[in-house]
């Protein structure tokens, strides 16, 4: 978190707070209020939808819930306005949390389906309000409601409310952006399954983000009820709100904390300048045209462009630094750092798996597997393709829930729990096909795991630590690059660095060597040995037998989901069952 930015937001808020006392015409206050209004709505939408990628078309519902909470309580029930504001926030947030608690349980409701569902909720809510005594049809007047005095005039008071809320919204948006919570949300955006496996409590985080987003929309609604002073269902729940906030956020840049605010200012001003003149119709056409042109040339939004420049600059600086520091090395190989060796034990079991089964609608991918992994060892897990090795990794990392059986890690049962619990208990994994978070730099990818994995570090701490692991994996010259800019070898090592940053007790390596050249394999084998030397227990799934023989202390062989042999590497490979599994039975 940068103090400058927080102070900047506060300073701008305070400076604008003097405006009503400078004798500006009421018209400007109203215009600026509308600006704040759209800023709040767009920024609050972005906290869920921009950060996590769950595009909602239902912002109008939460905004409307806030409007109607205030309108009903102040206009009909006679509450003082300020007392209705908490109610507006609560009603909207509660609506969001109830919706989220149901929707986020259904893992297939992502992307378009989530957008549709939230849109449908808007219509349902509008119908309910229209047909029940909350509104009943004619709309609600708030003419008689007293406006709390915050400025020299009524319009100034509403302006001040908009200003205070907008400042608060920006502070919250920035705080989330720069916090561990926000990092988790961005990880969900890029790859939710991986985020969960890396230790992000995705369900809870999405729910928090939704609650904050809805609560702020409700707050904006409560104030807006006072501003419009006559509330109707058709105005409140029209498609304008959800559509505008989406447009503003994309235009400004939805991966940035202030992007939606920039978009809100641009669109509101554009609409004002072009439609207030004589040829309002042509003005609107001009707004449409400008939108098209801006998005064609700036697809990441205004602030996306800015962060793009900054990113490129950082990458260039890092590359130049690497080039001048080590002119002999090719860009591929930065100096490999050694981490201090730690204790090395073999005795008690770290992981115990009993009777583990996993079935996919009839197909038994794992069938009654019982095995133990001892502290400090490297256990090789081998078997022909389709034998259940990857399923084993997926179950033991918590990604799949087992159909039957027990998983005991350090004596504690983990089976049936969410994947982030596995990560927090100290289990980390790599993916056979690397799955980095594509919008995060190498450094952020590694740091993210430090924050949410077994280490549970703060953001600042994790960023510091991540440097070490990146050096260990020989990627320090690419720290600021995005994963898409890496080659396969580098991406595999990024997977390793990420798994290490979790400071795991148990590391599950899923075919880290596949696709690497013989030279790269040697490098990787050496690195795995060094990881083991630090005291990490490793389960090593691999087809490259040379590596299996060189690294493993023990071997387990799976075939058709069942365990067929285990023990010392060379002994196991000579067992008849194992030969049969790999080569087929001799029928002669």
């Amino acid at each position: 978190m940068s103090r400058t930015i927080v102070l900047g937001i506060l300073g701008a808020g305070i400076a604008l707070g003097f405006l009503p006392w400078l004798g500006v015409p009421a018209f400007y206050e109203s215009f600026l209020y509308l600006l704040f209004h759209w800023m709040i709505l767009a920024v609050s939408w972005n906290i869920l939808s921009g950060y996590t990628g769950y595009f909602s078309f239902g912002h109008g519902a939460f905004f409307g819930a806030g409007i109607y909470a205030t309108a009903y309580l102040a206009g009909r029930a006679g509450w003082p306005f300020l007392a209705t504001v908490p109610a507006a926030i609560l009603v909207a947030a509660l609506l969001g949390v109830v919706l989220g608690a149901i929707v986020f349980r259904v893992s297939s409701v992502r992307g378009e389906l989530f957008a549709l569902l939230t849109l449908a909720v808007t219509f349902v809510l509008a119908t309910v309000i229209l047909n029940t005594p909350v509104d009943g049809g004619p709309g609600i007047y708030l003419i008689g409601v007293d406006i709390p005095v915050l400025g020299p005039s009524q319009s100034a008071s509403i302006y001040m409310m908009g200003l205070i809320t907008a400042t608060l919204t920006l502070l919250i948006s920035y705080w989330i952006y720069a916090s561990k919570f926000g990092t988790g949300l961005f990880a969900i955006h890029d790859d939710e399954d991986v985020a969960e496996v890396m230790g992000v409590p995705t369900y809870r985080f999405k729910l928090y983000a939704l609650a904050i987003s809805c609560g702020l929309a409700g707050l904006a609604g409560g104030i807006h009820a006072l501003f419009v002073s006559y509330v109707t269902v058709s105005e409140t729940f029209s498609i304008t709100v959800p559509l505008s906030v989406v447009l503003m956020s994309i235009l400004g840049g939805s991966r940035h904390w202030i992007g939606p605010a920039v978009g809100a200012v641009l669109i509101t001003c554009l609409l004002y300048y072009f439609t207030s003149g004589e040829s309002a119709v042509l003005g609107r056409a001009a707004v449409g045209f400008i939108l098209v042109v801006v998005i064609l040339f700036m697809p990441a939004g205004v602030l996306g462009l800015v962060s793009g420049w900054r990113h490129n600059k950082r990458v260039r600086v890092a590359a130049e630094a690497a080039a001048s520091a080590a002119p002999v090395h090719a860009a591929e190989a930065a100096p490999v750092a050694r981490l201090p060796a730690r204790r090395h034990i073999v005795a008690e079991p770290l992981l115990q798996v009993r009777g583990l089964s996993k079935a996919f609608s009839g197909v038994k991918a794992l069938n009654d597997v019982t095995l133990e992994v001892y502290k400090g060892e490297i256990l090789g897990l081998i078997g022909p393709n389709g034998s259940g090795k990857s399923t084993f990794i997926n179950v033991v990392s918590g990604h799949y829930k087992p159909t039957a059986g027990e998983i005991l890690f350090e004596g504690q049962s983990l089976a049936g729990q969410d994947a982030h619990r596995f990560a927090q208990a100290g289990i980390a994994r790599t993916y056979q096909i690397p799955r980095p978070f594509s919008h995060m730099s190498v450094l952020e990818n590694v740091a993210m795991v430090g924050m949410f994995g077994g280490g549970g570090m703060s953001r600042a701490e994790a960023l510091r630590e991540a440097q070490t692991f990146i050096e260990f994996a020989g990627l320090s010259h690419r720290a600021h690059a995005l994963p898409d800019d890496l080659n396969l070898h580098q991406r595999k090592f990024l997977e390793l660095a990420r798994a290490l940053a979790a400071r795991p007790k148990l590391l599950l390596l899923d075919e880290v060597l596949s696709g690497l050249t013989p030279g790269e394999i040697n490098e990787a084998i050496e690195m795995i040995q060094r990881i083991r030397d630090r005291g990490t227990t490793i389960v090593f799934v691999e087809h490259v037998m040379r590596a299996v023989m060189a690294l493993t202390d023990r071997i387990v062989v799976l075939n058709h989901g069942a365990l067929i042999a285990q023990g010392d590497a060379s002994a196991v490979m000579n067992e008849e069952a194992v030969k049969a599994a790999y080569l087929g039975k001799a029928h002669a």
């Binding site: 349902v124 509008a126 119908t127 229209l130 559509l243 994309i250 056409a285 697809p299």
Partner: protein, 285 residues
């Protein structure tokens, strides 16, 4: 709640089918470009209205038979669709940015309509407009029937084309995995032009039907977005028959809710239905 007569109920179910046909016809082109081109084309609604206004103009001012405009407008709109696709593919637009670009295009169309035809209500007066006949005590308005029949015809024609022709198979392959399809010799660029053109041509067909049935006003463009989006996603993105079926389901449930409760309760039935289907039968879209 009073039970309506059987006749009233069946009449409203019939009208649900008709409005469902309209939903399906508008949703067809929208869903195809969403599912196969990965573009959320808000301008689809703009094109529907533009076509409705042009056919209104042709019929009312130039005295051309509205059914004849069904032959004139689609080819013209096909070209518009190709031009739009050229623009979007030239700049490699992502799905959610396509929403933004096409929103801008829609605003431009809306302004154009307002500039040419003003914001007043317009109604196409034609010999078909008021024509009705009775089948077993039920009124069947001709324009609505035409809409439904066109919706059914296009849904099944496109379904058959996607399933049985090489062109259709190529389009499905392209939607599944563009680069791989290209590697097997499929001309993605040409296909996407064709598809986008066809979708916008479908919008123009829906527009003519729209002009025959409804009173036109430019601000209505966005009031159709919600329900047609729902129809498309319920029916399955990229599906040809899905939007029609979903449109009829939503249309009928709305119409039944109107007679059973009151017209203002109608949306809750269709959208609650939608929410339940999404939660309990997920993975359809």
């Amino acid at each position: 709640m009073t039970l309506p007569s059987l006749n009233l109920l069946s009449q409203s179910i019939l009208s649900g089918f008709f409005i469902g046909g309209m939903y399906g016809l508008i949703g067809l082109g929208l869903g195809l470009s969403w599912g196969l081109l990965r573009q959320i084309n808000l301008a689809h609604f703009g094109f529907v209205f533009l076509s409705a206004y042009i056919s209104y103009h042709m019929a009312s001012v130039w005295g051309i038979d509205p059914l004849l405009t069904l032959l004139i407008l689609p080819p013209v709109f096909f070209c518009i669709g190709v031009a739009m696709q050229w623009l979007l593919s030239r700049f490699h637009i992502s799905p959610f940015n396509s929403l933004l670009v096409t929103f801008g295009i829609t605003v431009m169309i809306e302004s154009l309509i307002q500039y040419v035809w003003t914001a007043d209500f317009r109604k196409l007066q034609s010999s078909y407009g008021e024509e009705k006949f009775t089948v077993g005590g039920l009124f069947v308005p001709v324009p609505e029937l035409l809409t439904l029949m066109l919706a059914i015809f296009f849904a099944f024609a496109i379904w058959a084309a996607m399933r049985f022709t090489d062109l259709g198979k190529a389009m499905r392959a392209m939607a599944e995995d563009g680069p791989i399809a290209a590697a097997f010799g499929i001309n993605q660029r040409l296909l996407s032009f064709l598809l986008s053109g066809a979708c916008v041509a479908l919008a123009s067909v829906a527009g003519v039907c729209f002009a025959l049935t409804f009173t036109l006003t430019p601000t209505q463009i966005f009031s159709w977005v919600g329900v047609v989006f729902a129809v498309v996603m319920l029916g399955g993105l990229g599906s040809a028959v899905g939007p029609l079926v979903a449109g009829i389901i939503i249309g009928v449930s709305e119409a039944v809710a109107m007679v059973l409760f009151s017209p203002s309760w109608a949306p809750i039935v269709s959208f609650s239905l939608l929410i339940l289907m999404l939660l309990f039968r997920p993975g359809k879209a």
